[in-house]
Symmetry: C2
Subunit: 298 residues, 2 copies
């Protein structure tokens, strides 16, 4: 239809807020080259996206581009409006936004609104449909997708039924960088006793604005080692996060999809809550999702 | 004893992290002059406190100084270690830290540690004992002290029995200034429907890291007016805060002690929770506390 058989090869880009990862995918569906850089959405000047895309092709070859992530937000290249849930591969494919016919497509995000819920995702949806298409997760599943904005996702019949965002990563970054706790949260997070204590506290469900201050108080009063403050705080936020997830799908198998350095934190947190979680690499799922979308193209 | 009868007059300083307020108090216990400036603890260079104190005397007169607030923290002039609760006027007076004998005293903060609790206050304690000494609050009371770090305080027999800090103000400031919500939270907070909706949501007790993201989602999906995002978010944080307080002393009269622009927010929030709260001006309480402490001096 577009005069360009994507099955001959294309470039998939996970184009986020602060960085991007680009992959050349060949006719066999294999990734043959890739790179990552700091040219995220925020670093592209107004009107600069065509040149930024061209720079990707210069590095990876003159192939069509499939772009996912914040590049499709209102502050990105071209807005790809949210597809309402329930939605899966077919809905994403049907709502690709073509920047250049047959050559450059942007994957839409997904949204949920109603019955007291309001949520949006952008960038995670391609990993979700990829994990489903590749059989990495079952057609009915409960998935945690850690990141700056963690997503808890319930999947029914191969489609995302509902989801809930918890801004754990952003909150941890903010309080690490500025404010009352910043001077105490310099250490690397380790998955020891302090982390597990924090998770347990977070699972209790007390207000985070109170619990976070008590981290400071405990350090000042000698009840928590300063070197443990970062791990305890990370655990606290992840525990509160997991409590949100368990409220959505208690008893289901918990699948952790994302960057291994994040899924391992949630796996350790899930263990405190008495859950065994299965970790799946987000990059693998992204590539599977890009390929599954490309194969829907005529 | 010190050769300086404070009852002839002194200067009381509420010396916080980012600003300070200084008051000259005469022999009748009346405030006859005052000023406020941005010379908070953080703006005083190491070793600079003697000069910063001298500058106060140059403006208000060569009187002894009673200093309260972060000036007594580990990053302040001289550390005034926390007095453990239960504690009241007598304990504060007994643990004043004298920077210069008879001339410059720093009021200690208060702490609580044990039974799963860890908390500290520094600067609020003088207002609490002042409100008690002046009869502004009863000898058994439940007090909310809004600020960057709101304190919920239970008072028994004229002494602070226990308290809990909720960093509502700091959290609101942080998310207003940076991160995902910042671009939406530019408007002034008004006490209308959006604020009350936020309070109700906060009182529900869901994880703030999830609720905060849904503010963004609701704006993006047209479910919340962008102009209402600040009011809703303020309500959300204050609702979660009030839930912490109500967990400490459900049913008691709620007294709001602090700056009027903050106590009115909590009064509006308390109304959503079905509580009538009584507001008391924090500056009046500070002056009463300073006077009560000065009168304990020999």
């Amino acid at each position: 239809m577009w005069g360009m058989p994507w099955t001959r090869g294309f470039i998939a880009v996970d184009w986020g807020t602060t960085n991007r990862r680009a992959y050349r995918i060949d006719r066999q569906g294999e990734c043959t080259a890739s790179f990552e850089d700091g040219q995220g959405m925020l670093s592209v000047a107004p009107g600069g996206f065509p040149a930024a895309a061209e720079a990707i092709r210069e590095r990876l070859g003159d192939e069509p581009l499939l772009l996912a992530g914040m590049v499709g937000s209102t502050r990105g290249w071209v807005e790809a409006p949210y597809v309402p849930c329930p939605a899966g591969l077919d809905e994403l494919a049907a709502h690709l936004v073509w920047v250049e016919a047959g050559q450059v497509a942007i994957v839409p995000g997904m949204s949920i609104l109603g019955a007291g819920q309001a949520d949006v995702m952008r960038g995670e949806e391609i990993q979700m449909v990829g994990a489903l298409a590749a059989g990495l997760i079952p057609s009915d599943a409960f998935v945690c997708h850690p990141g700056t904005h963690n997503k808890w996702v319930t999947v029914a019949d191969n489609r995302i039924r509902t989801f809930r965002t918890v801004m754990t990563g952003e909150m941890f970054n903010q309080i690490s960088e500025r404010g009352t706790l910043a001077e105490m949260i310099g250490e690397k997070v380790t998955l020891g006793e302090a982390f597990r204590d924090g998770v347990a506290r977070g699972l209790d469900g007390a207000a985070l604005t109170a619990e976070l201050f008590s981290v400071r108080a405990r350090v000042l009063l000698g009840d928590l080692r300063r070197a443990d403050a970062a791990s305890f705080t990370s655990g606290l936020l992840i525990g509160a996060d997991i409590k949100v997830g368990l409220g959505m799908a208690r008893g289901a198998e918990m699948i952790l999809l994302g960057r291994p350095e994040l899924t391992r934190l949630y796996a350790a947190g899930a263990a405190v809550a008495g859950h065994v979680a299965r970790e799946i690499d987000g990059e693998t799922a992204f590539l599977a999702g890009a390929l599954a979308l490309a194969r829907t193209l005529p």
